[in-house]
């Protein structure tokens, strides 16, 4: 939908899509209205390890600076990034022109203080928690400053692209707060026609005339549908309850138009396609806790290479031809994959507690209080907890059950 909306205004500018996934025969990239850049084309050091750091959504955020650099590497002098859930409604030549003067162009969430009212402060605090600038639109030009910016952003999101507000992190986005301080000439595009979205709709007056969308009386350039689910059309965004279908006003037409376009482009079918990087190579789902543990384990897990590799046969019911290896669990570290390492008995235990469940134990003070002697008298109680409550609370697949299988 985004590609077609862009082409309607700029038919001669190539439109690329980074696939943070695999086509896996579900669609033919050659038939799409855009050029597909496969994940493997990105110059990401240890890309298979990086890919394991994040679940589906954060991974798609974290690859942004790598995609931008890839396009500069392909020889484009100016590159504009649009986030996926957007509709181009007008001409973007102004951004392209700004990129002749500036190495970086960013768009803020707000361009003026929110209207007076009891929620003015909570709305601003939301922005302070998630980042001053919105990555819905971001431009870079082929200049040394932009290259330095992208390399810096890549380094930061490589392992720090999480939702962790108390740590100063909000995915890839909060890092951009530092850009005006770090990079000379970074331009802030304070134009209400761009990045119209739930966080600024109360301040922007929307009119629709025969397909044209006006913002404060001027043509809208980019409309964003952050948190919008076409299957729940009465909620403009899942991120806020302030905005409802009832108080949406004329912007309803835009949401309805977007919903219809998504339906026409196969939303109902594509939403069911699996995410290739969401599972180990034996088909077992990768829990978020396992991703976090991998990130925190640093060099200790480097030697396993691609952490999705299991070296184990596919569990019954999951068809993964080609995956087979002996399962080893007796004795100290014998694992040659991360998956095996997780499922091995942790050093110090009597063999009934895996490294994964011990990591859960270390992450939770409530468990440490309930089962203080986890390698001794409290061991059986803890293992019992993992089998019942633990597995349910953490949503671990059955393959991670405790005690480890021999």
């Amino acid at each position: 939908v985004l590609a077609r909306s862009f082409r309607a205004h700029h038919p001669d500018i190539p439109f690329y899509v980074l696939l943070a996934d695999e086509a896996d025969g579900y669609f033919d990239p050659d038939l799409e209205p855009f050029q597909v850049i496969p994940f493997s084309n990105l110059a990401i050091p240890d890309g298979e390890r990086f890919r394991f750091h994040y679940a589906q959504q954060p991974l798609s955020y974290a690859v942004t600076p790598f995609l931008l650099e890839q396009l500069l590497d392909r020889g484009f002098s100016r590159v504009i990034f649009f986030k996926q859930e957007s509709l181009v409604l007008g001409d973007h030549s102004a951004v392209a022109e700004l990129l002749e003067q500036h190495p970086i162009v960013m768009t803020p969430h707000l361009v003026a203080p929110p209207l007076d009212g009891p929620d003015r402060i909570s709305r601003e605090l939301n922005i302070l928690q998630s980042g001053i600038f919105n990555v819905g639109l971001l431009g870079v030009a082929e200049r040394d400053t932009a290259r330095r910016f992208l390399r810096w952003w890549q380094d930061r999101v490589y392992a720090h692209c999480r939702h962790a507000v108390p740590e100063g992190m909000h995915y890839e986005q909060r890092w951009l707060d530092l850009v005006p301080a770090f990079f000379e000439g970074a331009h802030v595009l304070r134009d209400p026609a761009f990045n119209v979205a739930h966080w600024n709709l109360p301040e922007r007056s929307i009119e629709t005339h025969e397909g044209d969308v006006l913002v404060d009386g001027r043509p809208c350039r980019l409309f964003r549908f952050s948190g919008y689910d076409p299957d729940v059309p009465q909620a403009p965004t899942r991120y806020s309850t302030r905005l409802t279908w009832e108080n949406l006003g004329p912007a309803r037409d835009v949401f309805e138009r977007y919903r219809r376009a998504l339906e026409e482009e196969g939303y109902q079918e594509t939403k069911q396609w699996p995410y290739a990087y969401g599972v180990f190579d034996n088909g077992v789902a990768i829990p978020d806790f396992v991703r976090r543990l991998y990130l925190q384990s640093g060099t200790a897990v480097e030697r396993f290479g691609d952490p999705r590799r299991t070296g184990t046969p596919a569990p019954s019911g999951i068809d993964r031809p080609g995956a087979s290896a002996a399962w080893m669990s007796d004795g100290p570290v014998k694992a040659d994959t991360y998956y095996q390492w997780l499922n091995e008995p942790v050093e110090g235990s009597d063999g009934t507690i895996t490294r994964l469940w011990h990591a859960v134990y270390l992450a939770r003070t409530d468990l440490q209080e309930t089962f203080p002697d986890v390698f001794g008298a409290d061991g059986p109680g803890f293992v019992n907890w993992t089998v019942g409550f633990g597995t349910r609370e953490h949503g671990f697949p059955d393959e991670f059950r405790n005690p480890p299988r021999a």
């Binding site: 803020p108 969430h109 707000l110 361009v111 003026a112 203080p113 402060i121 601003e124 605090l125 939301n126 922005i127 302070l128 928690q129 001053i132 600038f133 330095r148 810096w152 930061r156 720090h160 507000v165 108390p166 740590e167 100063g168 992190m169 909060r174 890092w175 707060d177 530092l178 005006p180 301080a181 770090f182 000379e184 802030v188 304070r190």
Partner: protein, 370 residues
């Protein structure tokens, strides 16, 4: 003499202290005077004028706290901690300076030391609605790079130890907005997106017109950027940073009692890593001591006591805050002798929140006169 002094655009510099920080204001005043003898320097002493002693013979002009137009001042002074009050006063002080007719107003934290020519700052301030200085000026390198940048993301891109405004509608609009936000929230609550007055500054460049980000390595030299600011002191005593003139240091978290510790907010210690910075910090400690730090640092904070001398516990402050708008019904919350006072309400409903008065204090004797 620059045009900012005798004639032409007039710039005033100001700071806010509680009385235990008076020595810092004195040192700042003298350092500013050494480089800009004709620039006015004003100080708000965030203290209770009824109970705290009068100041005379200081090297600066005093601006009374109750002259700044802070709404419900007594209630605000009760509600805020010492540090919260000091930051909340800032936009009120800056508007007050504009109302006095200056064309540029600069706020400096009291723990700032002017070490060079500020003329480029005066120029920037009079040419823009607002001027801010970032904590860091370039991506960090080395082992601790990410942890140090995250620390800045938690506390704010810009350092609120320097804020400059000129008298234009955009800056008055921005100051009114900042006042409103600080009255609502000026605590340290990183998880909510608040860090005193400072994180609000992150929004200034996007919400208001003509906010300038001054990326000058000579400004706001402090523990958070020392590794990137290479310092040299010439034989004539001129301080250079990365080869250009240093303008002002910001000794955030520095305690002259512990001159070997650059900042209580940082684990760094002088170990030869920061060039001649240790000598500069040492010299600053000596200036503070010469300005009476030993005695001023011991003075009490008047807003920490009810008017009967009983200390205000943090629990009492929290209970008062939690009452929200209804707290207005108690009138002046420091007063204890009225039957409808907050103190009486506290004694009746939360006696555990009342700390005993220090011995020898009789009711209605102000704490600060002791």
């Amino acid at each position: 003499m620059t045009p900012f002094e005798a004639s032409g655009p007039r710039v005033a510099v100001a700071t806010i202290v509680t009385r235990n920080y008076l020595s810092f204001a004195r040192v700042l005043a003298l350092s500013l005077r050494a480089h800009h003898p004709h620039v006015r320097f004003l100080v708000v002493v965030a203290a209770d004028p009824d109970t705290d002693w009068q100041l005379e013979g200081e090297p600066f002009e005093i601006v009374a706290l109750d002259n700044l137009g802070i709404p419900h001042l007594r209630r605000v002074c009760f509600r805020c901690s010492r540090q919260e009050l000091a930051v909340l006063v800032k936009p009120f002080l800056m508007r007050h300076l504009l109302d006095r007719g200056v064309s540029g107003a600069i706020f400096l934290d009291p723990d700032v030391l002017v070490v060079g020519d500020l003329t480029p700052l005066f120029v920037e301030v009079t040419h823009h609605a607002m001027v801010l200085t970032p904590h860091l000026l370039q991506p960090l390198e080395g082992e601790g790079r990410i942890a140090r940048e995250l620390n800045i993301l938690r506390s704010g891109t810009f350092n609120a130890g320097f804020v400059g405004v000129s008298d234009v509608p955009a800056s008055r609009y921005a100051l009114a907005w900042w006042q409103d936000r600080l009255l609502a929230d000026c605590t340290a609550a990183v998880e909510r997106g608040v860090y005193y007055d400072q994180r609000w500054l992150d929004l200034m460049p996007i919400l208001f017109d003509d906010v300038s980000v001054m990326r000058d390595a000579g400004c706001n030299i402090a523990y958070w950027n020392l590794p990137e600011r290479h310092l040299q002191v010439s034989s004539g005593g001129i301080i250079l940073v990365n080869g250009a003139p240093a303008r002002f240091f910001h000794f955030s978290g520095f305690e002259p009692e512990h001159p070997k510790v650059p900042s209580k907010f940082s684990p760094w210690r002088w170990d030869g890593a920061f060039g001649q910075a240790a000598a500069i910090y040492n010299q600053y400690a000596e200036m503070l001591m010469a300005a009476g730090h030993d005695s001023t640092s011991r003075t009490k904070y008047g807003f920490d006591y009810f008017d009967n001398g009983a200390p205000i516990s943090s629990q009492a402050r929290d209970l008062y805050k939690a009452l929200g708008a209804t707290a207005a019904d108690f009138g002046d919350p420091f007063q204890t002798n009225r039957p409808d006072s907050f103190y009486r309400w506290l004694s009746d409903n939360h006696p555990e929140a009342i700390e005993p008065s220090p011995s020898g204090t009789s009711p209605n004797t102000s704490a600060a006169k002791r």
